[in-house]
Symmetry: C2
Subunit: 148 residues, 2 copies
């Protein structure tokens, strides 16, 4: 079965980005011997990893991203808002998708865009405060009201 | 459990990229009602998707990428070589990683970088011709000999 095994992000400060993903999402670092560049291999789950590489590249994509589906969306929302890294420019406001999955976007410390969604079956447990937040209000699959 | 649910690539020609991933990797398109931009949601497996969006953005990342682990690596190698889209510049030549997974990189029609790896347990079935190919020869985790 074909599967997405990892995503590799280019970062400008490896320690800052590693700390962000370890501290905020609980990923654990897998030691790799022999890397000849500043890098970190983070374990997302038993089948998936997130790799970080501090190497020259262009600026991060404005709209390209990967999506982490989490089982604690409400806590992630409040924490990302506290950190001030929610980004509604590329794809619009926080919204509920058909099926009941909540969706938000953040920028990591290197400027990479990350989508966060909830498990649809967790819809009943979503903090109601999210639906009255000033950043809430996007329509599913309507992105044309973005600011760019 | 947190998991990578999808990757979203920005493309300059939606039809060309959709055809590429459908034809070459067997992904199937999931119909989505109400998208207000040219996009395609491709099903990788029951837990993962690849989303394509034809929207303005910067140039594709030179080194940033996602990795597809496939169960027909040898066939993918020969096909990608035939298509002329193997790219050894960002991360070096085709190589065998510790554990027995084979690794190569390609550019999709939009210029997005995609890593392809084999299941380590499939090592015995890898076509021996790959190991004598002119594009083979990278050391695991040694990337400094790249051309950029």
């Amino acid at each position: 079965m074909t599967r997405i095994q990892h995503v590799t992000l280019i970062v400008d400060d490896l320690a800052a980005c590693r700390d962000f993903y370890v501290d905020e999402f609980g990923f654990t670092e897998r030691r790799v011997e022999g890397l000849d560049y500043p890098g970190a291999f983070l374990v997302v789950n038993e089948n998936q990893e997130l790799h970080l590489a501090e190497l020259p590249d262009g600026p991060p994509s404005f709209r390209g991203h990967f999506c982490l589906r989490v089982d604690n969306f409400s806590a992630v929302f409040h924490r990302m808002k506290e950190l001030g890294i929610l980004d509604v420019r590329p794809w619009g406001r926080i919204r509920e998708l058909p099926g009941g999955s909540l969706q938000l976007y953040i920028r990591d410390p290197a400027g990479n865009l990350v989508e966060i969604t909830s498990e649809p079956e967790d819809r009943a447990g979503i903090d109601e405060a999210i639906f009255t937040d000033q950043l809430y209000g996007g329509e599913p699959y309507r992105y044309g009201d973005g600011s760019v």
